[in-house]
């Protein structure tokens, strides 16, 4: 799958309270959550971004709460991928579980400017900066996580497993 979009760049320790504040946690409709994504970091983010755009950040993206609302809000807003130097562990797990593409790549973050256009091939793990012409390779996922991704997330994976075992 090829993703293409413009880069919005953030710094280190973008936490889940900034991605989606607790005051919206009683909302579970993803399209409602999407209206408030990154609101406390940049209140105009939602109006500036377009579907397909890419969030880029330095280290520890998604630190803090276990709220799955965070990757859900990003995905529902239309962000196609998050590229960071590193992710907090619960956020990474949640993203894979709900099908938000997330890639770790230090070099790409260091060598990309806000507003650059990127083209990402998820299967290959390549990140091409169309503005500079450079291509970077993201960190590979363990096999088990790849199985979850290709099943469409953890719930689908489990549903299929239970179905094939005749338990539902």
């Amino acid at each position: 799958m090829k993703l293409q979009g413009r880069v919005f760049k953030f710094g280190a320790n973008v936490d889940t309270d900034v991605i989606i504040p607790a005051r919206y946690l009683n909302v579970s409709d993803p399209s409602e959550l999407a209206k408030h994504v990154m609101e406390d970091a940049d209140s105009s983010f939602v109006s500036k971004m377009k579907p397909g755009d890419i969030i880029m950040a330095t280290t520890n993206f998604g630190c803090g709460s276990s709220r799955e609302h965070a990757p859900l809000a990003i995905k529902a807003a239309g962000i196609s991928c998050v590229v960071a130097k590193s992710f907090a562990r619960i956020f990474l797990r949640n993203s894979i579980n709900i099908g938000l593409p997330v890639l770790e790549c230090e070099e790409a973050v260091d060598r990309t400017n806000p507003g650059d256009m990127l083209e990402i091939e998820l299967e290959k793990g390549t990140i091409k900066n169309l503005s500079s012409g450079e291509t970077f390779r993201a960190k590979a996922y363990p096999d088990f996580m790849l199985q979850l991704i290709s099943a469409g997330g953890l719930i689908e994976y489990t549903k299929n497993k239970l179905k094939s075992a005749g338990k539902t």
Binding site: N13, D17, N26, E68, P71, A88, N94, I155, T168
Partner: protein, 417 residues
Amino acid sequence: MGKTLAEKILSTKSGTDAKAGDIVVCGVDLVFVQDTTGPLTVRQFQEGHFPRLARPENTVVFLDHASPSPSSGFANDHLLLRQFSRAQGAVLSEVGDGISHQIIAERFAGPGDVIVGADSHTVTAGALGAFATGMGSSDIAVAMALGKTWLRVPETFKVSVSESFAPLVGAKDFILNLIGTLGADGATYKSLEFSGEALFNFNISDRLTISSMAVEAGAKVGIFPSDVVTMAFLDWRGRGKDYKALQADSDAEYERVLNIDLSQLEPMVAKPHTVDNVSPAGDVKGVKINQVFIGTCTNGRLTDLELAAKLIKGKKRHSDTRLIVAPASRDVYLSALKEGYIQTLVEAGATVTPPGCAACLGVHQGVLADGENCLSTANRNFQGRMGNPKSFIYLASTATAIATAIAGEIVDPREAI
């Protein structure tokens, strides 16, 4: 080669010879949700067409985050969770019972347990020797349905302690100092394992404070070995049978070893807006504080209320500084009432809010105004955490918090009391 605490627990629970880096599937002893992550978990559970809970008696639904409900939205979430609990036979912890992590420590967790919860501070139960970690709603829905989960066995940082604390310095200062050293992502994916003869100086309240904040350095778990302190606590709670010996092997392999001399520590403060932005309390002396909050899974226990009451007895909060106190659980509240701590605090000008997460996550009971400063005994000072992105949160110990409430500005409790 010997095993770390994480490797030992996950080997036993998965029935494999688990080493750091392995991915294992293991049974869970307790799985839980709370009222901000629970509704999404219920929807994922239904989405998966999962027929029922694998072990209803070991599945707990806590109504603690927005409790009592501040809005019809949260009230409807509570309704959904009550209905789900009733239909599935899960254990329901109602409004006013207290914070999930405190109740888990009081009633459920023991050495060697695997505990997963849809809450990042699930790590708190590491204080009792449990491999306890937070996950999102999808993972928890699956753990509820299957009674098991997958885990990557973490590499371990050993944190070895020696000597003992100086007066008015304690567990919160220790963990803030450690997070300052490691950084907010310094232990991402790792197990923090506490070790050393001086662990005897940490009672279970201290250990819960420390384990609860392991995630603030990115750690997957923050585990203590079991010892006489663990045994005495479980006996006191009427759960002596839950005790198991749990020690790391002497030849276990550690990715990093940190040695900390407790006698060298001083009162610490984490400044806005990250937990690793720490400095000695003396360096931020004089910052005006509009609200002091004492509570949460990190510092809302009987030992905290006891210390706060003793330090403020006969004094008053500063007239410009609100003081909000939230007991971590109903048991803590009742004991604090019986001991007279609540009366002392209220006489000193405190507002006591019900057992639960209270002001910590900014949906009720102490939301800050634009430009206001709060000094809190909680675990997070992220921008907007207490409900207003234009406010500022400082984190500190209960001793520093109460001294600050009296002074109206940040002080080093050793100088002020």
